[in-house]
Symmetry: C2
Subunit: 239 residues, 2 copies
């Protein structure tokens, strides 16, 4: 399907440019996914080296954003794309902004892991672990739907993000109990809450990415509308 | 200066489109500014009606984002702008994303104000009040630099955001003390911390907006570089 949607130009050079753009965006996605996985691992195992690695690699995410953004501007100026090509470039511009912010959240989790003295006991980490796995899976599926240019897969991700809405609230409630029982738990509890919040942001950014994909494929802006309406809109034939 | 930069087209219609685009973006900025002011007021005075008003008005911010975004796409497709015009449209696309997210943060603060039972005592609110005033001022100055297309004003905002970096950390430390002393303070302390975090995000988004303005005026992407470098780059003549 990817091939079919993307190969339509008389200019082979333009085809190549759009392909390169898309593959750069996917590389950026891969890097961000790795950053998130490492940040969560660092938080779980109190691995200072790994946390610092995440922290030090954030510039790579930022550099990719700037490079891809420049490439988009160059394509807009030189190729003056319209219709689907224009939507592709605009979707890329928006997607990389969200990917960069997922990178920021990963960095934030890595920084927080450095603040925890002596590591987080397994029973406390558990409360955030589940949300961490959900966020990783959702980011992975979102990137996968982009790689396969798959509307149904993107819709499934959006549905999943709606299903787990409030998951971080449940982490917060659980952690609040520990904190109220024992004030010495407060600093650790805050780290868990901030991490849950960062993961919630990762999930929201992943949802945005899927919305941009549907915009590219279907020509419809589905932001800020209800899930039911999203599904209806996305399933209509492309106009 | 605004006139000089913006009036350059043989097509009056195109001039009008770009002017309208810019004025719509400024209206969206004004609305977001009002939302933030009302959210902070609701938090300070425990005003439930006002909080609900902020919550209910968020759709207006979202609707403006979608309208302006569509207008940008239409201009890109029909006018195929290059150079400064292209940068203007791209800067608008990015700016409205950040404005929409400032709107989200305002809504978040309004929601949190609803959770506080019986209001926040003045001495506790004080810790977040200062940061709230800073965030409002920075957002105001950022929008003002856009209205006046003023590089120096945008640079001043960016400098200010760097100067107050860590202000929310200081709120957190202060609130942590209350929480450790009296666990009954934990829920209120969390509201203050989440609010401080939302305000920190407002400041970061305002900085982004100024960076896009400099990109539009100077053709240079100054994201992810040091403050000193930002000032050097922005002050070089436009190439």
């Amino acid at each position: 399907m990817a091939e079919e949607v993307l190969t339509q130009h008389i200019s082979h050079q333009f085809d190549t440019e759009l392909r390169t753009l898309r593959s750069q965006m996917l590389s950026m996605g891969g890097l961000v996914e790795e950053q998130l996985a490492n940040a969560l691992q660092a938080l779980k195992t109190n691995d200072e080296m790994l946390a610092k690695q995440v922290y030090n690699n954030d510039y790579k995410v930022n550099a990719l954003e700037v490079t891809i953004d420049e490439e988009c501007t160059r394509i807009l100026a030189r190729r003056q794309p319209t219709a689907g090509d224009l939507r592709l470039v605009l979707a890329v511009i928006k997607t990389i902004t969200d990917l960069e912010r997922i990178g920021d959240e990963a960095e934030r989790i890595a920084r927080m892991s450095l603040q925890v003295q002596g590591g987080i006991q397994a029973r406390y980490y558990l409360s955030v672990h589940h949300l961490g796995e959900l966020a990783r899976q959702i980011l992975h599926d979102a990137l996968d739907s982009i790689a396969r240019l798959d509307t149904e897969a993107a819709l499934a991700v959006i549905r999943e993000t709606h299903r787990i809405d409030g998951e971080s609230e449940s982490v917060n409630r659980q952690v609040l109990t520990y904190m109220m029982e024992d004030p010495r738990m407060i600093p650790l509890g805050l780290t868990l809450m901030w991490s849950a919040r960062a993961l919630e942001r990762v999930i929201a950014h992943s949802r945005n990415v899927c919305e941009y994909l549907i915009y590219f494929l279907k020509g419809k802006d589905i932001r800020h509308i209800s899930l039911q309406k999203v599904e209806e809109e996305a399933r209509q034939p492309h106009y």
